[in-house]
């Protein structure tokens, strides 16, 4: 039985990797060659034929060395979800936040509506709502261009509204407990106002803009993966 580890180490030569990693690769390749050789012998082939079969799997050691070096040095690109969901989603959140922050500036002469609804005021920043379709369109287009599927595009569009609703909802158990203890009542109206003003309306506005880009072929095809 040939010493496949010695053969693989000699044929492969230095890969420019740290010694431990290089040895692991040598060990793995040697194991593969040994399996090929043993299988060939089990099938009744002669020693020479079995050797030929094993070496046939690595006819071009230069190519193998080159490919291994390329694989070792290849930068890990951003994964699919980062490209199709988190980056476009972060963009829509940032844009939405910037516009809202500008409109909330007390010195900004931009009108907003305080709609008294029972004991709670529903604040509607009309200009913010009007900007959301554009922001939704940007998020959906970006996600689609990056190869996002329907769900990823829809989530990238919806993240600003989801964030607006989910963050306050994290406080919900505490608010609920406080209100139940203090007022012996459930805060239905404030919750409904919160959901409507910061969830439903913004989500609708974002989806209106994103709708044209939610369907259709993504910007990347199978061959590009």
């Amino acid at each position: 039985m040939p010493d496949w580890r010695v053969i693989a180490r000699k044929k492969l030569g230095p890969l420019g990797l740290e010694a431990k990693r290089q040895e692991e690769i040598v060990l793995e390749l040697a194991g593969h060659l040994e399996d090929l050789y043993s299988d060939a012998l089990r099938q009744g082939r002669s020693h020479a034929e079995a050797l030929h079969s094993a070496f046939g799997a690595a006819a071009d050691w230069d190519e193998l060395r080159r490919e291994l070096q390329l694989a070792a040095n290849e930068e890990v690109s951003m994964n699919h979800r980062v490209k199709t969901l988190w980056l476009p989603g972060a963009c829509t959140i940032a844009l939405s936040g910037i516009v809202l922050r500008l409109l909330q500036n007390p010195s900004a002469p931009v009108p907003h509506v305080l709609w008294p609804w029972h004991s709670t005021e529903l604040v509607i920043y009309w200009w913010w709502l009007l900007s959301l379709p554009v922001i939704g369109a940007i998020g959906a287009y970006w996600s689609r261009h990056a190869g996002g599927r329907f769900l990823e595009r829809a989530l990238a569009v919806s993240l600003p509204a989801l964030g607006m609703v989910c963050l306050p909802l994290l406080m919900f158990p505490f608010v609920l407990g406080y209100d139940l203890i203090r007022f012996h009542s459930f805060p239905f109206v404030p919750m409904a106002v919160l959901l409507l003003g910061w969830g439903v309306l913004p989500e609708a506005a974002l989806l209106v803009g994103g709708l044209p880009f939610l369907r259709g072929q993504s910007g990347q095809v199978a061959a590009s993966h």
């Binding site: 690769i25 793995e28 194991g31 046939g56 690595a58 694989a71 699919h80 095809v221 061959a223 993966h225």
Partner: protein, 116 residues
Amino acid sequence: MKDHTINIGAQVKRGSAELAILSVLSDGPLHGYEISKRIERQSQGLLRFNLASLYPLLYRMEKRGWVSGNWEGPAGGRQRRYYRLGPAGKRRLVPLREEWGQLFQALHTLAGVTHA
């Protein structure tokens, strides 16, 4: 023009090889030799890997978190590196299957090409 063609060919090759590896690993962990034999057997000899096409790709897929490799074997016996499908690999397998299905569908429509 020539470079573009070569690039697409290489990408298609790599994409199909990734799909083949992820598919066989979806049945359970395998070491490199088993992966190549399983693919060869299941494709009835149509798809064959050599060392240069299998291991660099496995290492790339490991870097991306699609598969994870661990040395296993009996104490004092031969150690082999077994590859398992990771969560990212499982997620990747679904769209890859869809994309290749669509590609074959398109080729069938275009040129009457059918897959096995």
